[in-house]
């Protein structure tokens, strides 16, 4: 059970170096920065940096310029730095040049196809076309049907070049002598041409000149703007610029080495030295348990000082899933499919399915079920376990009660285990009243455990060396815990030295606690019965497969097809339901007893998170 140990790292730098510190931090994958606001207090007299980001404004201006000439700017590597004045001068210059191009576009929005057509016209030279004294040019898109009609025109006073075509349009360039220009335009208009003005200036040429520097400046602004966004993590204490955050203890040295060559100081400390900061939680589990971190994250991360419940979740989830979905063949498919998907798609849910498939196989083997065929494993069972037919016949009427009782028994064990975890965690948190007197503490454990013993004694008196029904024992193990549940709050006050009197007064307290205790007792009953579903799904799975097998027999030659489809259907439907039900047991019956998901996620430093 592992929550990665953290170190609190504080980097001290001078005014000229803190930007480099930020740049290097961004390149380091494992650093969780703390916002400056968490670090400033009256004692250190620190202040936050002004995070006015002028580079963001430059970025927008450059983007607008690019957009106006249809050039998409993309940030690349930064080759050199620019002064603010230099950037402003450049933006002004480019703006003037490109405004001219934008004017010639005459505010027409060109589609991708228009651009392709225009590209072909470009080879003739836009300026040259406009300089012609006796010839006029025009271009546009003609509906495909109108293009066919060009050949119908008798007096053709123009020449046409097909530039490009799509399903609906043909893009054309036409040329005519100035004498006929009016008539030709009328003709084109009659054929529903959608004119595209031929630009007076070749913007692309100008663009070509500026493209490189534009991208360079844009990249620099983008990079600097990103760094500026990280200013919120920097505290300035006079000339000392501080950046504090958490790094995994294992990589702390690596983090320190990150600043080699800079004149900075890095202090490493235990997280406890800064009580005002909540250390982030980073889970680290072995390969077998790792995908189950997903379920824990979905509920809420554990507190840094708590326990990582992932291994417990992994084991209990697989166990319950395996029992409910016990089938050697189907489990094998889940195992193979899940692990393959996990490998290819890096999907955590697939990883969970794969692992659950393994336990499904184990229980499938014990139940003697392979793809719904209940007799296939009988010889193996007979030779291994020396039974007459098979180890456990799920569909046998006599098996139903043991199955359901067994399910509740598993539930009881799990409930007791979660109580133990809760007691441990509360002792660790120094919440003694919670550890001793609560329903999930020692009192609850004794109460619930004794009831289980009592039930065992009732139905199987020979199993126990004593009589759990004796009055002194009942008073000690049932009566005392109930009184403790009732008195939890005053006892808590007493232990903390706040006196025995509850804060709401005795009258209200008694009234509230009577109902509270009743609810506690009821919840023990309902929580235990909740596990009945484990047995229920064993029956339901076997029942559904029985239907499939009956259908296989009924359908004769189509049997194999029904067999495959039926198995797939049951796997899909029941796999989903069982998965959901198991998750429900994890969250409602187990997590609610010991887990507080109030941890803070370990978030890498980056401008997006800033």
């Amino acid at each position: 059970m592992s929550i990665v140990k953290m170190k609190l790292a504080t980097v001290h730098a001078g005014a000229d170096q803190f930007q480099d510190v930020l740049k290097r931090c961004v390149s380091c994958a494992q650093f969780h920065p703390e916002p400056a606001a968490h670090l400033i207090n009256d004692e250190n007299g620190g202040k936050a940096l002004q995070d006015e980001n002028v580079y963001n404004e430059y970025l927008n201006q450059l983007k607008n310029i690019g957009h106006s000439v249809g050039f998409e700017l993309k940030a690349g590597p930064v080759s050199r730095s620019y002064e603010e004045a230099e950037i402003e001068a450049f933006i002004k210059e480019v703006n003037e040049q490109f405004a001219m191009i934008a004017d010639t576009h005459e505010l027409m929005t060109l589609t991708g196809n228009d651009e392709i057509a225009l590209e072909k016209v470009r080879s003739y030279g836009f300026e040259a076309m406009h300089e012609c004294q006796y010839i006029s040019f025009g271009m546009g898109r003609l509906p495909a049907e109108s293009f066919k009609k060009l050949s119908l025109i008798e007096k053709k006073n123009f020449v046409v070049e097909e530039l490009h075509k799509s399903g609906q349009y043909v893009w054309i360039l036409y040329a005519t002598s100035n004498t006929f220009v009016k008539e030709v335009r009328k003709c084109m208009e009659s054929l529903f041409i959608e004119e595209i003005p031929i630009p007076r200036i070749d913007g692309k040429k100008i663009l070509e000149q500026y493209k490189e520097k534009l991208t360079e400046v844009y990249s620099y602004c983008a990079y600097t703007s990103e760094i500026r966004k990280l200013y919120r993590y920097v505290v300035q204490v006079q000339d000392d610029y501080q950046l504090a955050g958490f790094v995994p203890a294992k990589t702390a040295d690596q983090f320190v080495r990150l600043f080699d060559g800079l004149n900075v100081r890095v202090d490493l400390a235990e997280p406890e030295t800064a009580p005002q900061l909540v250390p982030p939680t980073m889970l680290h589990n072995v390969w077998l348990f790792r995908p189950f971190e997903m379920f824990v994250e979905m509920y809420g991360l554990p507190n840094y000082h708590d326990l990582d419940p992932t291994p417990f979740v992994a084991v209990t989830f697989c166990l319950l899933f395996g029992i409910m979905f016990g089938d050697l063949g189907q489990g094998a498919l889940l195992l193979i499919g899940g692990l393959l998907l996990e490998k290819i798609k890096h999907n955590r849910l697939a990883g969970i399915v794969g692992r659950a498939g393994l336990t499904s196989m184990i229980f499938g083997f014990l139940f003697g079920s392979v793809f719904g065929v209940e007799t296939l494993l009988n010889p193996v069972h007979q030779s291994l376990f020396g039974v007459r037919e098979k180890l456990f016949e799920v569909m046998d009427a006599s098996a139903t009660m043991p199955l359901l009782i067994g399910a509740v028994a598993i539930g009881a064990v799990l409930i007791l285990m979660t109580m133990i975890i809760n007691i441990y965690l509360n002792i660790k948190r120094k919440e003694m009243a919670e550890a001793l007197f609560s329903q999930n503490g020692v009192a609850g454990f004794i109460f619930y455990g004794y009831i289980i013993l009592f039930l065992i004694g009732m139905f199987m008196p020979d199993m126990l060396p004593f009589n759990p029904g004796s009055k002194p024992l009942m008073i000690l193990f049932i009566g005392v815990p109930v009184v403790l549940f009732f008195m939890k709050e005053p006892l808590n006050g007493l232990m903390k030295g706040e006196g025995l009197t509850p804060h709401q007064g005795w009258g209200n307290f008694v009234l509230e606690e009577v109902f509270e205790v009743l609810e506690i007792i009821l919840s023990f009953v309902t929580n235990s019965l909740s596990y009945l579903r484990v047995g229920g799904f064993v029956l339901s799975h076997a029942g559904m497969m029985l239907v499939v097998m009956t259908l296989v027999k009924m359908t004769g030659n189509a049997g194999p097809v029904v067999f495959v489809l039926g198995n797939l259907f049951v796997m899909g439907l029941e796999g989903l339901i069982v998965g959901i039900q198991t998750l429900r047991l994890e969250y409602y019956e187990m997590f609610s007893r010991y887990f507080v998901g109030n941890g803070k996620k370990f978030t890498m430093i980056s401008s997006e998170n800033a």
Binding site: E145, K149, S166, F192, E194
Partner: protein, 345 residues
Amino acid sequence: MGTASNAAMATKAKAMFGKRLTASDYQQLLQKKSIPEIASYLKNETLFREALEGYSETGLHRGQLEMLIRRDLGTRLSRLLRYASTSGDKFYRYGIMMSEVEQIMACIRAFNDEDNYKMIGELPLYIEKSTSFDIRALAQVRDFNALLEVLDKTPYADLIRPFSVTDMEEFDYTACESVLQKYFYDQVMKIVDQEFSGKVKKEIREIFLTQIELDNITRIYRSKRYFNATPAQIKKVINPVYLRIPKRELEDMIDHCNAEEFMERLARSAYHNYLDSSNFAYIEYHAQSINYNLNKRHMMFSTNPDIVLIAYLVLSETEIQNVVDIIEGVRYGIPADKINRLLIY
């Protein structure tokens, strides 16, 4: 038996009619300030989505937009005919015939113009495989003899030959159009008689006879109002069909009424339910409006697939005309309320 006896077609046609432009669509369209805005609305919000697929809304030419919308009706018709029990229906070719007549008239009207670019632009080449003559050849026709040559071997040639003149100034457009239309309706009636029988035949005949009668009314009104034509001239250009207004009454109206009196008499005729003289726009509006309402009733209540299909075509044509009116209205900056008065829905 009808040519399309499959009830599936009637159901489909009714379903398609359900997707027609609604009053709210028309109100939205009337708020538009430009052709691209109209095109965009039609493309994104209405049944014309498919027709305008792939066309740019921003640059779409008005004429092209109108043509695409008109062509869409042909697509819808062929889609409906797929549901019909018989294919290659002779009867539904009447739409092609109507286009042929329109193209011949457009060609003649262009003789007097400097060029025939407009006619070529609007030439429906998409039906060229179904027409009885080469409509592509109309593009080269610039005089009457050339037209006769193109129409050679079609009945149209004999129909228009008597109108041949040396000077196009003297050409009688109204009479020529009336002859062609009469021929068109005769042919339609002939096919109806051959293809249908019983009650269906009676109802389909009635649909077309109503159209003819309404055409006549329009023609009479226009001749009186704009051309001061004499009763004899008028009688010459009308199609002798009398459905809701008896022959004697119509002739009396031709002989003794001026345009205003004609409208008043009409308002007292069998068409009185459909006329609202307080909202007088123009005569075509009334004729179309009457036709629309009659066919809407067929659409709602008839279960015969052929009748439903014909009604669907008439209703869709009116819808297209509405859209065209809006396009033209917006283009010429006519106020929305004025355009609205022309719409029939």
